[in-house]
Symmetry: C2
Subunit: 215 residues, 2 copies
Protein backbone atom coordinates (compact mmCIF):
# COMPACT_ATOMS: atom_id res chain seq x y z
CA UNK A 1 0.00 0.00 0.00
CA UNK A 2 1.43 3.36 -1.10
CA UNK A 3 0.80 5.94 1.60
CA UNK A 4 1.38 9.69 1.45
CA UNK A 5 1.98 11.18 4.89
CA UNK A 6 1.11 14.88 5.28
CA UNK A 7 2.75 16.38 8.34
CA UNK A 8 5.73 14.03 8.39
CA UNK A 9 7.80 16.55 10.31
CA UNK A 10 5.35 16.85 13.20
CA UNK A 11 5.63 14.87 16.42
CA UNK A 12 3.04 12.23 15.51
CA UNK A 13 4.32 12.26 11.93
CA UNK A 14 7.84 11.37 13.02
CA UNK A 15 6.53 8.35 14.93
CA UNK A 16 4.58 7.26 11.83
CA UNK A 17 7.68 7.57 9.62
CA UNK A 18 9.66 5.37 12.01
CA UNK A 19 6.93 2.79 12.70
CA UNK A 20 5.98 2.43 9.03
CA UNK A 21 9.44 1.01 8.33
CA UNK A 22 8.53 -2.02 10.46
CA UNK A 23 5.45 -2.72 8.33
CA UNK A 24 6.04 -4.74 5.15
CA UNK A 25 2.67 -3.83 3.67
CA UNK A 26 3.20 -0.04 3.82
CA UNK A 27 5.36 1.99 1.45
CA UNK A 28 5.42 5.48 2.92
CA UNK A 29 6.18 8.77 1.23
CA UNK A 30 6.59 11.79 3.50
CA UNK A 31 5.28 15.17 2.36
CA UNK A 32 7.18 18.14 3.80
CA UNK A 33 7.36 21.78 2.85
CA UNK A 34 11.11 22.50 3.00
CA UNK A 35 13.85 21.18 0.74
CA UNK A 36 16.14 20.47 3.71
CA UNK A 37 13.41 18.31 5.26
CA UNK A 38 13.25 16.27 2.04
CA UNK A 39 17.01 15.78 2.16
CA UNK A 40 17.01 14.78 5.84
CA UNK A 41 14.26 12.22 5.28
CA UNK A 42 15.96 10.76 2.20
CA UNK A 43 19.27 10.53 4.06
CA UNK A 44 17.36 8.48 6.63
CA UNK A 45 15.99 6.13 3.94
CA UNK A 46 12.52 7.65 3.75
CA UNK A 47 10.96 8.60 0.44
CA UNK A 48 9.95 12.27 0.52
CA UNK A 49 8.15 14.83 -1.62
CA UNK A 50 8.02 18.61 -1.44
CA UNK A 51 4.59 20.24 -1.26
CA UNK A 52 2.85 22.89 0.81
CA UNK A 53 -0.61 22.83 2.36
CA UNK A 54 -0.77 26.56 1.71
CA UNK A 55 -0.20 25.89 -1.99
CA UNK A 56 -2.70 24.75 -4.62
CA UNK A 57 -4.90 21.66 -4.80
CA UNK A 58 -3.04 20.69 -7.98
CA UNK A 59 0.30 20.79 -6.15
CA UNK A 60 -1.10 18.49 -3.47
CA UNK A 61 -2.70 16.15 -6.01
CA UNK A 62 0.66 15.82 -7.75
CA UNK A 63 2.29 14.80 -4.45
CA UNK A 64 -0.45 12.16 -4.06
CA UNK A 65 0.14 10.48 -7.44
CA UNK A 66 0.05 6.67 -7.07
CA UNK A 67 -0.94 6.91 -3.40
CA UNK A 68 -3.51 4.38 -2.19
CA UNK A 69 -4.00 6.29 1.05
CA UNK A 70 -3.32 9.69 2.58
CA UNK A 71 -2.58 10.26 6.25
CA UNK A 72 -3.18 13.85 7.40
CA UNK A 73 -1.43 14.68 10.66
CA UNK A 74 -0.25 18.18 9.80
CA UNK A 75 -1.33 20.99 12.02
CA UNK A 76 -0.60 24.30 13.59
CA UNK A 77 -1.68 22.65 16.83
CA UNK A 78 -2.86 25.66 18.75
CA UNK A 79 0.58 27.15 19.27
CA UNK A 80 0.70 29.28 16.11
CA UNK A 81 -1.81 32.04 15.46
CA UNK A 82 -5.42 31.41 14.50
CA UNK A 83 -4.64 32.72 11.00
CA UNK A 84 -2.56 29.58 10.40
CA UNK A 85 -5.27 27.48 12.05
CA UNK A 86 -7.60 28.59 9.26
CA UNK A 87 -5.06 28.28 6.44
CA UNK A 88 -3.51 24.94 7.49
CA UNK A 89 -5.84 22.99 9.81
CA UNK A 90 -9.00 23.97 7.95
CA UNK A 91 -8.28 25.06 4.39
CA UNK A 92 -5.09 23.02 4.04
CA UNK A 93 -7.01 19.92 5.10
CA UNK A 94 -9.87 20.81 2.75
CA UNK A 95 -7.41 21.17 -0.13
CA UNK A 96 -5.77 17.84 0.73
CA UNK A 97 -9.21 16.18 0.65
CA UNK A 98 -10.01 17.78 -2.72
CA UNK A 99 -6.58 16.73 -3.99
CA UNK A 100 -7.15 13.14 -2.86
CA UNK A 101 -10.42 13.04 -4.77
CA UNK A 102 -8.70 14.56 -7.81
CA UNK A 103 -5.78 12.10 -7.64
CA UNK A 104 -8.20 9.20 -7.20
CA UNK A 105 -6.82 8.24 -3.79
CA UNK A 106 -9.30 5.91 -2.14
CA UNK A 107 -8.46 6.13 1.53
CA UNK A 108 -7.92 9.14 3.83
CA UNK A 109 -6.99 9.00 7.49
CA UNK A 110 -7.35 12.23 9.44
CA UNK A 111 -5.73 12.88 12.80
CA UNK A 112 -8.18 15.19 14.52
CA UNK A 113 -8.78 16.12 18.18
CA UNK A 114 -10.87 14.48 20.88
CA UNK A 115 -14.55 15.52 20.64
CA UNK A 116 -13.94 17.77 17.63
CA UNK A 117 -17.30 16.53 16.33
CA UNK A 118 -19.16 17.59 19.48
CA UNK A 119 -19.37 21.36 19.98
CA UNK A 120 -21.14 20.92 23.32
CA UNK A 121 -17.97 19.71 25.00
CA UNK A 122 -15.82 22.63 23.83
CA UNK A 123 -14.87 25.05 26.57
CA UNK A 124 -14.20 28.75 26.14
CA UNK A 125 -10.43 28.44 25.93
CA UNK A 126 -7.71 29.53 23.51
CA UNK A 127 -8.00 26.08 21.90
CA UNK A 128 -11.64 26.61 20.88
CA UNK A 129 -10.89 28.09 17.41
CA UNK A 130 -8.60 25.10 16.78
CA UNK A 131 -11.45 22.73 17.71
CA UNK A 132 -13.80 24.55 15.33
CA UNK A 133 -11.26 24.33 12.49
CA UNK A 134 -10.77 20.58 13.07
CA UNK A 135 -14.56 20.14 13.35
CA UNK A 136 -15.12 21.57 9.90
CA UNK A 137 -12.14 19.81 8.31
CA UNK A 138 -13.54 16.52 9.62
CA UNK A 139 -17.01 17.33 8.29
CA UNK A 140 -15.57 18.14 4.85
CA UNK A 141 -13.83 14.75 4.87
CA UNK A 142 -16.94 12.88 6.02
CA UNK A 143 -18.95 14.54 3.22
CA UNK A 144 -16.34 13.66 0.58
CA UNK A 145 -16.38 10.55 -1.56
CA UNK A 146 -13.26 9.22 0.18
CA UNK A 147 -13.17 6.15 2.40
CA UNK A 148 -12.24 7.97 5.57
CA UNK A 149 -11.18 7.30 9.13
CA UNK A 150 -11.17 10.22 11.56
CA UNK A 151 -9.03 9.55 14.62
CA UNK A 152 -9.61 12.01 17.46
CA UNK A 153 -6.89 11.55 20.09
CA UNK A 154 -7.05 12.97 23.62
CA UNK A 155 -4.32 15.07 25.21
CA UNK A 156 -1.09 14.11 23.50
CA UNK A 157 1.76 12.79 25.64
CA UNK A 158 5.41 12.22 24.84
CA UNK A 159 5.67 9.06 26.96
CA UNK A 160 6.44 5.83 25.08
CA UNK A 161 3.36 4.06 23.74
CA UNK A 162 1.71 1.29 25.76
CA UNK A 163 0.04 -0.38 22.77
CA UNK A 164 -3.22 -0.36 24.75
CA UNK A 165 -6.05 1.97 23.79
CA UNK A 166 -9.75 2.75 23.99
CA UNK A 167 -11.57 3.86 20.84
CA UNK A 168 -15.07 5.34 21.00
CA UNK A 169 -16.81 8.36 22.48
CA UNK A 170 -15.16 10.08 25.45
CA UNK A 171 -16.80 13.44 26.16
CA UNK A 172 -15.02 13.53 29.51
CA UNK A 173 -11.65 13.59 27.73
CA UNK A 174 -8.52 11.56 28.27
CA UNK A 175 -4.89 11.31 27.19
CA UNK A 176 -2.69 9.14 24.98
CA UNK A 177 0.97 8.94 23.98
CA UNK A 178 1.74 10.22 20.49
CA UNK A 179 3.39 6.88 19.69
CA UNK A 180 0.10 5.07 20.28
CA UNK A 181 -1.71 7.54 18.04
CA UNK A 182 0.85 6.84 15.30
CA UNK A 183 0.45 3.08 15.71
CA UNK A 184 -3.35 3.39 15.64
CA UNK A 185 -3.13 5.37 12.40
CA UNK A 186 -1.02 2.63 10.81
CA UNK A 187 -3.24 -0.21 12.04
CA UNK A 188 -6.32 1.69 10.79
CA UNK A 189 -4.87 1.82 7.27
CA UNK A 190 -5.71 -1.84 6.74
CA UNK A 191 -8.49 -2.39 9.28
CA UNK A 192 -11.79 -2.38 7.38
CA UNK A 193 -13.75 -1.86 10.57
CA UNK A 194 -12.44 1.72 10.65
CA UNK A 195 -13.81 2.57 7.18
CA UNK A 196 -16.18 5.56 7.19
CA UNK A 197 -15.72 5.92 10.95
CA UNK A 198 -14.65 8.60 13.41
CA UNK A 199 -13.68 7.86 16.99
CA UNK A 200 -12.06 9.39 20.05
CA UNK A 201 -8.81 7.71 21.07
CA UNK A 202 -7.36 7.49 24.59
CA UNK A 203 -5.19 5.11 26.56
CA UNK A 204 -7.00 1.93 27.56
CA UNK A 205 -6.82 -1.79 28.18
CA UNK A 206 -7.28 -3.29 24.70
CA UNK A 207 -4.74 -3.93 21.96
CA UNK A 208 -5.10 -1.51 19.06
CA UNK A 209 -6.40 -4.23 16.74
CA UNK A 210 -9.01 -5.40 19.29
CA UNK A 211 -10.17 -1.88 20.07
CA UNK A 212 -10.62 -1.08 16.38
CA UNK A 213 -12.40 -4.37 15.74
CA UNK A 214 -14.86 -3.49 18.49
CA UNK A 215 -15.73 -0.03 17.15
Amino acid sequence: MNVLLIGANGQIGQHIVRLAKEKNDVSLKAMVRKEEQVEALQADGTEAVLANLEGSVDELAKAMQDADAVIFTAGSGGHTGADKTILVDLDGAAKAIEAAEQADVKRFIMVSAIQAHNRETWTDSPIKPYMAAKHHADRILAASKLNYTIIRPGNLQNEPGTGKIQAGEFPEGGAIPREDVAQTVLVSLTNENTHHQGFDLITGEQTIQDALNNL
Copy 2:
Protein backbone atom coordinates in the same frame (compact mmCIF):
# COMPACT_ATOMS: atom_id res chain seq x y z
CA MET B 1 -42.27 37.44 4.56
CA ASN B 2 -40.80 37.08 8.06
CA VAL B 3 -37.06 37.69 7.92
CA LEU B 4 -34.47 37.20 10.65
CA LEU B 5 -31.44 39.44 10.18
CA ILE B 6 -28.19 38.19 11.74
CA GLY B 7 -25.66 40.98 12.11
CA ALA B 8 -28.19 43.78 12.42
CA ASN B 9 -25.71 45.96 14.24
CA GLY B 10 -23.10 45.84 11.48
CA GLN B 11 -22.73 48.49 8.80
CA ILE B 12 -24.56 46.57 6.07
CA GLY B 13 -27.02 45.31 8.68
CA GLN B 14 -27.99 48.83 9.69
CA HIS B 15 -28.78 49.70 6.07
CA ILE B 16 -30.93 46.56 5.81
CA VAL B 17 -32.86 47.47 8.98
CA ARG B 18 -33.61 50.94 7.60
CA LEU B 19 -34.40 49.89 4.02
CA ALA B 20 -36.62 46.98 5.09
CA LYS B 21 -39.06 49.46 6.65
CA GLU B 22 -39.81 50.77 3.15
CA LYS B 23 -40.80 47.29 1.94
CA ASN B 24 -44.37 46.22 2.66
CA ASP B 25 -43.66 42.56 1.94
CA VAL B 26 -40.86 42.22 4.52
CA SER B 27 -41.34 41.92 8.28
CA LEU B 28 -37.84 42.10 9.73
CA LYS B 29 -36.59 40.87 13.08
CA ALA B 30 -33.05 41.90 14.04
CA MET B 31 -30.84 39.46 15.92
CA VAL B 32 -28.24 41.11 18.15
CA ARG B 33 -26.11 39.85 21.00
CA LYS B 34 -26.48 42.59 23.61
CA GLU B 35 -29.56 43.56 25.60
CA GLU B 36 -28.93 47.30 25.02
CA GLN B 37 -28.90 46.67 21.26
CA VAL B 38 -32.33 45.01 21.55
CA GLU B 39 -33.62 48.02 23.44
CA ALA B 40 -32.17 50.54 20.97
CA LEU B 41 -33.71 48.70 18.01
CA GLN B 42 -37.11 48.40 19.71
CA ALA B 43 -37.06 52.08 20.60
CA ASP B 44 -36.55 52.72 16.88
CA GLY B 45 -39.57 50.54 15.98
CA THR B 46 -37.61 47.45 14.93
CA GLU B 47 -38.47 44.02 16.25
CA ALA B 48 -35.38 42.48 17.86
CA VAL B 49 -34.24 39.23 19.44
CA LEU B 50 -31.26 38.41 21.62
CA ALA B 51 -29.01 35.56 20.46
CA ASN B 52 -25.30 34.93 20.01
CA LEU B 53 -23.49 33.29 17.09
CA GLU B 54 -21.03 31.94 19.65
CA GLY B 55 -23.91 30.22 21.44
CA SER B 56 -25.68 26.97 20.57
CA VAL B 57 -27.52 25.90 17.43
CA ASP B 58 -30.66 25.55 19.57
CA GLU B 59 -30.38 29.18 20.70
CA LEU B 60 -30.13 30.31 17.08
CA ALA B 61 -32.99 28.05 15.96
CA LYS B 62 -35.18 29.59 18.67
CA ALA B 63 -34.41 33.07 17.35
CA MET B 64 -35.44 31.85 13.87
CA GLN B 65 -38.88 30.58 14.89
CA ASP B 66 -41.51 31.60 12.30
CA ALA B 67 -38.87 33.07 9.99
CA ASP B 68 -39.35 32.45 6.28
CA ALA B 69 -35.84 33.65 5.52
CA VAL B 70 -32.54 34.35 7.25
CA ILE B 71 -30.10 37.05 6.18
CA PHE B 72 -26.55 36.50 7.44
CA THR B 73 -24.44 39.64 7.36
CA ALA B 74 -22.63 39.23 10.66
CA GLY B 75 -18.89 39.14 10.61
CA SER B 76 -15.67 39.92 12.32
CA GLY B 77 -14.65 41.48 9.01
CA GLY B 78 -10.93 41.07 9.18
CA HIS B 79 -10.43 43.68 11.90
CA THR B 80 -10.76 41.35 14.90
CA GLY B 81 -8.38 38.43 15.44
CA ALA B 82 -8.45 35.27 13.36
CA ASP B 83 -9.79 33.40 16.40
CA LYS B 84 -13.08 35.30 16.02
CA THR B 85 -12.93 34.75 12.26
CA ILE B 86 -13.15 31.01 12.97
CA LEU B 87 -15.75 31.25 15.72
CA VAL B 88 -18.05 33.81 14.05
CA ASP B 89 -17.51 33.94 10.28
CA LEU B 90 -17.03 30.19 9.93
CA ASP B 91 -18.54 28.28 12.84
CA GLY B 92 -21.14 30.95 13.67
CA ALA B 93 -22.33 30.83 10.07
CA ALA B 94 -22.30 27.02 10.10
CA LYS B 95 -24.42 27.01 13.25
CA ALA B 96 -26.86 29.53 11.74
CA ILE B 97 -27.22 27.27 8.69
CA GLU B 98 -27.83 24.22 10.91
CA ALA B 99 -30.31 26.24 12.97
CA ALA B 100 -32.18 27.33 9.84
CA GLU B 101 -32.53 23.70 8.77
CA GLN B 102 -33.67 22.78 12.28
CA ALA B 103 -36.20 25.64 12.45
CA ASP B 104 -37.47 24.74 8.95
CA VAL B 105 -36.52 28.11 7.47
CA LYS B 106 -36.63 27.78 3.71
CA ARG B 107 -34.47 30.64 2.49
CA PHE B 108 -30.97 31.79 3.50
CA ILE B 109 -29.12 34.79 2.12
CA MET B 110 -25.42 34.99 2.91
CA VAL B 111 -23.35 38.16 2.58
CA SER B 112 -19.92 36.84 1.66
CA ALA B 113 -16.87 38.45 0.03
CA ILE B 114 -15.91 38.90 -3.61
CA GLN B 115 -14.27 35.77 -5.06
CA ALA B 116 -14.56 33.85 -1.78
CA HIS B 117 -15.37 30.79 -3.91
CA ASN B 118 -12.19 31.12 -5.97
CA ARG B 119 -8.97 30.40 -4.02
CA GLU B 120 -6.86 31.24 -7.06
CA THR B 121 -7.60 34.94 -6.75
CA TRP B 122 -6.68 35.18 -3.06
CA THR B 123 -3.45 37.03 -2.37
CA ASP B 124 -1.10 36.44 0.54
CA SER B 125 -2.48 39.22 2.71
CA PRO B 126 -3.85 39.54 6.25
CA ILE B 127 -7.32 39.10 4.77
CA LYS B 128 -6.57 35.61 3.42
CA PRO B 129 -7.74 33.70 6.54
CA TYR B 130 -10.98 35.70 6.39
CA MET B 131 -11.44 34.67 2.75
CA ALA B 132 -10.88 31.01 3.66
CA ALA B 133 -13.43 31.21 6.49
CA LYS B 134 -16.03 32.78 4.18
CA HIS B 135 -15.18 30.21 1.50
CA HIS B 136 -16.02 27.33 3.79
CA ALA B 137 -19.11 28.98 5.30
CA ASP B 138 -20.42 29.48 1.76
CA ARG B 139 -19.69 25.87 0.86
CA ILE B 140 -21.52 24.64 3.95
CA LEU B 141 -24.53 26.72 2.90
CA ALA B 142 -24.43 25.50 -0.71
CA ALA B 143 -24.31 21.89 0.53
CA SER B 144 -27.26 22.41 2.89
CA LYS B 145 -30.89 21.75 2.03
CA LEU B 146 -31.67 25.48 2.19
CA ASN B 147 -32.67 27.62 -0.76
CA TYR B 148 -29.65 29.88 -0.68
CA THR B 149 -28.30 33.02 -2.28
CA ILE B 150 -24.64 33.88 -1.70
CA ILE B 151 -23.89 37.54 -2.38
CA ARG B 152 -20.17 38.30 -2.65
CA PRO B 153 -19.66 42.08 -2.64
CA GLY B 154 -16.43 43.81 -3.64
CA ASN B 155 -14.63 46.41 -1.52
CA LEU B 156 -17.25 47.98 0.69
CA GLN B 157 -17.72 51.75 0.52
CA ASN B 158 -19.61 54.14 2.76
CA GLU B 159 -20.79 56.36 -0.12
CA PRO B 160 -24.57 56.49 -0.69
CA GLY B 161 -25.88 53.74 -2.96
CA THR B 162 -26.31 54.38 -6.68
CA GLY B 163 -28.90 51.65 -7.19
CA LYS B 164 -26.83 50.42 -10.15
CA ILE B 165 -24.90 47.15 -9.92
CA GLN B 166 -23.20 44.33 -11.77
CA ALA B 167 -23.76 40.75 -10.57
CA GLY B 168 -21.61 37.89 -11.86
CA GLU B 169 -17.98 36.81 -11.77
CA PHE B 170 -15.34 39.50 -11.25
CA PRO B 171 -11.94 37.94 -10.51
CA GLU B 172 -10.35 41.34 -11.11
CA GLY B 173 -12.29 42.75 -8.14
CA GLY B 174 -14.31 45.93 -7.76
CA ALA B 175 -16.12 48.03 -5.18
CA ILE B 176 -19.67 48.81 -4.09
CA PRO B 177 -21.41 51.01 -1.50
CA ARG B 178 -22.75 49.13 1.52
CA GLU B 179 -26.17 50.64 0.87
CA ASP B 180 -26.31 48.93 -2.54
CA VAL B 181 -25.30 45.62 -0.95
CA ALA B 182 -28.16 46.01 1.54
CA GLN B 183 -30.65 46.81 -1.22
CA THR B 184 -29.43 43.83 -3.29
CA VAL B 185 -29.96 41.54 -0.29
CA LEU B 186 -33.53 42.77 0.10
CA VAL B 187 -34.34 42.49 -3.61
CA SER B 188 -32.83 38.98 -3.65
CA LEU B 189 -35.24 37.85 -0.93
CA THR B 190 -38.10 37.72 -3.42
CA ASN B 191 -36.23 37.32 -6.72
CA GLU B 192 -36.48 33.66 -7.74
CA ASN B 193 -33.64 34.04 -10.21
CA THR B 194 -31.25 34.28 -7.25
CA HIS B 195 -32.31 30.91 -5.79
CA HIS B 196 -29.44 28.47 -5.38
CA GLN B 197 -27.03 31.05 -6.78
CA GLY B 198 -23.82 32.77 -5.73
CA PHE B 199 -22.49 35.88 -7.42
CA ASP B 200 -19.93 38.65 -7.05
CA LEU B 201 -21.46 42.12 -6.66
CA ILE B 202 -19.90 45.43 -7.72
CA THR B 203 -21.10 48.81 -8.87
CA GLY B 204 -22.39 48.78 -12.44
CA GLU B 205 -24.90 50.15 -14.93
CA GLN B 206 -27.98 47.99 -14.37
CA THR B 207 -30.80 48.34 -11.86
CA ILE B 208 -30.61 45.73 -9.10
CA GLN B 209 -33.71 43.93 -10.38
CA ASP B 210 -32.37 43.81 -13.96
CA ALA B 211 -28.92 42.63 -12.88
CA LEU B 212 -30.42 39.82 -10.79
CA ASN B 213 -32.81 38.83 -13.57
CA ASN B 214 -29.81 38.49 -15.90
CA LEU B 215 -27.78 36.23 -13.61
